[in-house]
Amino acid sequence: MAENGLFLDDVSIALNGHRLVALAHSVAPGEVLTVMGPSGSGKSTLLAYIGGFLAPAFEASGKVFSDGLELTALPAEDRHVGILFQDPLLFPHMSVGGNLIFAIPASVKGKAARYALAEAALEGVGLAGMAARDPDTLSGGQKARVALARALLSAPRMLLLDEPFSKLDAELRGQMRELVFAKARDSALPVVLVTHDAADAEAAGGSIVRIGNAQ
């Protein structure tokens, strides 16, 4: 068993007796595991299982470890997985800064310290000074970067990416890919990327697992 990074120990997910995913794999810190499959193949359920928010209709078995800690024994909120979806899903009722501060762990005390951390995170994704903005007034690319900054601020154990680049246009997509993978390497986070885009897999550079009809 890999002591460091993410380890998927015979994870299997089924719906109505039909197996969608069966996987045993380890992902070292800073590395990317790409799971490819056509839409509807159930590849997103793997991320939901790791994160702890799989819908009750699915039957799943197998364990997930992070740095030797069994995540599947923990509730979702104690697993600390940073997750990025197709849509940025910034909380629409909070400012950009509010979204970021919401993500900062409670262990960071003091309003000033938390504000400074949020501001630094914005700067880290090239959006310095945007904390007071209404998220809905940002461009698609800016929203995606705020979502990334938010995920990183929560001090996650890993990043789970659910086709996060598919709704960006071609040029932005390349930039965003580089930014996400660079940030993951810098923070030594294991990454699980779910996609149907071969270019994503290529840019990720790690091992590739195919599920569903593509198998």
């Binding site: 979702a76 909120e77 997750i83 909380f91 009722h93 919401f102 809905d136």
Partner: protein
Amino acid sequence: MLPRLGPPLAVILLTGPILAGLLGTLLPAFGYLPALGGTAFTLDHFAELLGRPGIMMSALVSLAAGLVTAAVSLGIVALFIAGWAGTKALSRIQHLISPLLSVPHAAAAFGFAFLIAPSGMMSRLISPEITGWQRPPDLLIVNDPMGLSMMAGLIVKEIPFLLLIALAALPQIDLTRTRALSASLGYGRIAGFVHGVWPPLYRQIRLAVFAVIAFSSSVVDVAAILGPTTPAPLAVRLVGWMSDPELSMRFFASAGALLQLCITALAIIIWIGLEHIGAALRDHIRDCGLRFRRDRWLARTALAAMVVSALAIFAGLATLALWSFAGLWQFPNALPDSFTANAWMKTAPRIAAPLATTLLVATLSTLLAVALTLLCLIREDETGKRAGRRALFLIYLPLLVPQAAFLFGLQLIFVGTGTVASLPALVLAHLVFVMPYVFLSLGDPWRAFDRRYEAVAAGLGKSRASTLLRIRLPMMLRAILVGAAVGFAVSIGQYLPTVLIGAGRLETITTEAVALASGGNRRIIGVYAFLQMLLPVIGFAVATLLPALIFRHRRAMRV
């Protein structure tokens, strides 16, 4: 932990009072009520009931009101959606009609009466130029013996309800493609709708139609204002017997309540028969290959009926408002000679207490209903199981059982336990009717929430409670407040529960207004009915403005 209690609590609070109330009606109807010396079962009270003069006519009017109201309002709504779904005309009408749902039945009925009475607004507008009337004609329009004006008043009030329920169910049906398909097969718009869209749509709104039948066949306030008097519809006579000071009348009134239950059940059974006939007719037409391509006239007629029914309520409400501020207003003048606040000043001191009770009961029952609904919906998320058909039936149950049939028994129970006319008892009685509407209003927006937001929050290390309080509830604030405003409006409009459980000691604006109906002082009625209409409007204004204010800098939170 708490959400686990939601569904059982909701079931107990919805079905408990109904079952207990039905039992409390059933036993005395057969002579069993030990507190009043009834210990032996007997059919005497039914014999006495059937010997009452005009009882058959009362029952028939009630039966007819249920069926006619449902048939006409459903017919107009169906033809209107068939002809206009997906057009701008439909969304305009929808916006026009939505607010009418919150107008209490009694206020709408008063407005309608003020509009169509011989000395009403319509007659004034065309007199004396067209009619030549210098004084109100001696016609029995309001309170006509057949109950036609009562049915008309019910129809204009049920149309908004059925329209909104049907439009809420419509997105689950692939309207555009079904229409394209039926058009390509040569069917007219309405015929294509009837064959392709209506069957699945009707299945979803069927309980709401039953609720309309149950309500119209047992309504008290609208019937007391617009309905016939010699004899009055069954439910109105029932309430008279129920509030009779002579205690032995309670056996008799219980037998009457049971008859009401049977009449409503019979109306629904006849309706189910009509459903089969309608379906057979539809299939016969299909098998004959009729296409009905020239149907624009029918669609236009349905649109006109929609507009007229909405305008009737609006014009009625405006007339009410006018009367409450009217000075001298002689027939056939279309406007008062002068305006004065006299009626308002005169009634103000008498209004304070009922107004306070109205607001208190509405606020408490709405808060309870919203909390209970949220618990049920949160539980639904936890288990991943959507409330099924049986749960939907439970939610509709208070709307399907005639109020008079179980509220009287419930009153007897409250009397027996010494809790009648207490605030908790009244709030509980209102909750039974508020809860279904809050659930129906809040359920769909709640389920439409993008739950990936919760996944993101969980990934950020937030507990379920924190995610609920800081993400889900704030993002759903608008839907929750709208649900609350619906519940508030329903509570304001409750007549019979307030009369029976409040036992004449807890008065609300609605009970006071209906009590004025026979008196005929239009200025005072105008004041009460106007207030009755105003309170729900304030509720909806708060539900709209508060989120707009709180989220004024958040573009995505606007509608």
